[in-house]
């Protein structure tokens, strides 16, 4: 039942953005990404789950009542988290692809597909999510709450991440902040892969790759710190 409700709300959200976008006569997105506003919005909404799931990715597999029982087994904690989330990651990517194609079909949107670039961008998006998930969990182990990082991340995605608001229409200071977010590189990479092969695609993907690597390493370090913290303090359980 929850799956049907989730699918229905996702598709209806997609259609709302698509129909709104279709009503726009001219758009900054045509100039920047060679796609209509509707195409821009649908691609943003459809692919959003790949990167926005990051901070909460591992929370369900690290419940306070399960943590100790998992940690006494020979399976390493990172291995446990990744293998437990593998299906979730696959369904997220599959869901994004289905929503995107469904939106394009229902609204009659045209895209130009650079599949290798799209796959690379999605892969980097997933790795970014994993890095953010490690980071969020590490902080949660120490501070016993992760709402702040999720809130910051979701706020940034909506406004500055180039997901549904083209950064070209933002004030220059907001644009500068947007360039610091991983979401910007992810959504820009997606638009370049399905919109136009802009000349700056190499720069965007290189920066995104470097950003992803940095987030992964920082995520691993923060998670390791969180693990050491709870082993030192014995605070595995919390409510």
């Amino acid at each position: 039942m929850s799956l049907i409700l989730g699918l229905t709300s996702s598709i209806s959200g997609l259609l709302v953005y698509g129909l709104l976008g279709n009503s726009a006569s001219a758009s900054i997105t045509t100039q920047s990404y060679n796609m209509s506003l509707a195409s821009y919005l649908v691609s943003g909404v459809a692919f959003s789950s790949i990167i926005t799931n990051g901070p909460a990715m591992f929370s369900q597999h690290s419940s306070p009542t399960e943590l100790e029982e998992v940690l006494v087994t020979p399976t390493s904690f990172r291995e446990f988290l990744l293998s437990s989330s593998a299906l979730n990651l696959l369904t997220t990517v599959g869901g994004a692809a289905i929503f995107f194609l469904l939106g394009a079909f229902l609204l009659g949107l045209d895209y130009s597909y650079n599949i290798p670039l799209l796959v690379l961008t999605v892969l980097l998006g997933l790795l970014t999510s994993i890095g953010l998930g490690f980071m969020s969990l590490g902080l949660r182990l120490v501070y016993k709450q992760a709402s702040l990082i999720s809130w910051v991340f979701f706020s940034l995605t909506g406004l500055l991440g180039n997901m549904i608001v083209p950064i070209q229409i933002l004030p220059s200071i907001a644009q500068s902040i947007a360039y610091l977010t991983p979401q910007y590189y992810f959504f820009t990479g997606v638009r370049m892969a399905i919109g136009s092969d802009a000349s700056s695609v190499g720069t965007v993907i290189t920066l995104f790759g470097a950003y992803t690597l940095a987030l992964l390493l920082i995520g691993i370090l923060i998670l390791d710190y969180g693990m050491k913290f709870i082993r030192r303090n014995g605070t595995h359980r919390w409510v």
Partner: protein, 238 residues
């Protein structure tokens, strides 16, 4: 042969506490003070003590969950801090009286299959072992029931089955019979003695002196973070 070696182990926890409506501060509490103990192959050692005496902390240190401040702890010759992964391959653990880590909507059997994967036990072998353990612990006909339908005693027995699943040479049990009925307790004690006869070393914490006397080859009393050996007469009087 010594399977568990604890030498001069000390641990202090820092905990927050409230002094008034809005005042919150921290306080240190020394849980273990120079604790030393050994468990030989095939021996059952019971750690007896009141609630909050530090019994669980010893079990948590030996199962690599908590790092000691001072001293040394080894399981099968491996250091619990620097060789924690090797230690985890060699211990079966039941902590917090086995109260946690099970998925309520899955059956007892499936929950154990899940842990068999985490213990890297091949599925076919695991299924055979799970069936045997459930039978030995009196859950043979309830393995397919959802975990949420289990009574507290059944949950303890399932947690014990989880601890015995990896067939490890060392088993750490934290209050394994808490909330278990006397008949099942007897069954669990028999199982523990049979494991010891097979050469498994068992460290069992309890606050029940009768249990310590019944099941333990040796009984150690933990009080205010200090560990002392007890004679049978002392245990009986405790």
């Amino acid at each position: 042969m010594i399977q568990i070696l604890v030498s001069n182990l000390s641990k202090t926890f820092t905990r927050k506490f409230e002094t008034g409506a809005s005042k919150e501060t921290t306080r240190k509490r020394e849980v273990l003070k120079n604790v030393s103990l050994e468990v030989q192959t095939g021996e059952i050692v019971c750690l007896l003590g009141r609630n909050g005496a530090g019994k669980t902390t010893i079990a948590r240190i030996l199962s690599t969950l908590v790092i000691p401040d001072e001293g040394k702890a080894e399981v099968c010759g491996y250091d619990v801090v620097t060789q924690s992964r090797e230690v985890r391959k060699r211990v079966g653990v039941m902590i917090n009286a086995g109260d946690g880590g099970f998925q309520p909507r899955l059956s007892g059997f499936t929950n154990l299959e899940y842990y068999a994967i985490l213990y890297h036990i091949p599925l076919q072998k695991a299924r055979f072992r799970i069936s045997a353990l459930l039978g030995e612990l009196g859950l043979g006909d309830r393995g397919s029931d959802q975990y949420q339908m289990y009574s507290s005693g059944m949950r303890r027995r399932l947690a014990l089955a989880r601890a015995l699943l990896p067939d490890a040479p060392v088993v750490l049990l934290d209050e394994p019979t808490l909330g278990v009925d006397p008949w099942s307790t007897k069954q669990i004690h028999q199982k523990l003695r049979s494991l010891a006869e097979q050469g498994i070393s068992i460290l069992c914490t309890t606050n029940n002196s009768a249990e310590a006397q019944t099941v333990g080859n040796r009984v150690l009393m933990l009080e205010n973070g200090v560990l002392e050996a007890m004679t049978r007469t002392e245990v009986a009087a405790a």
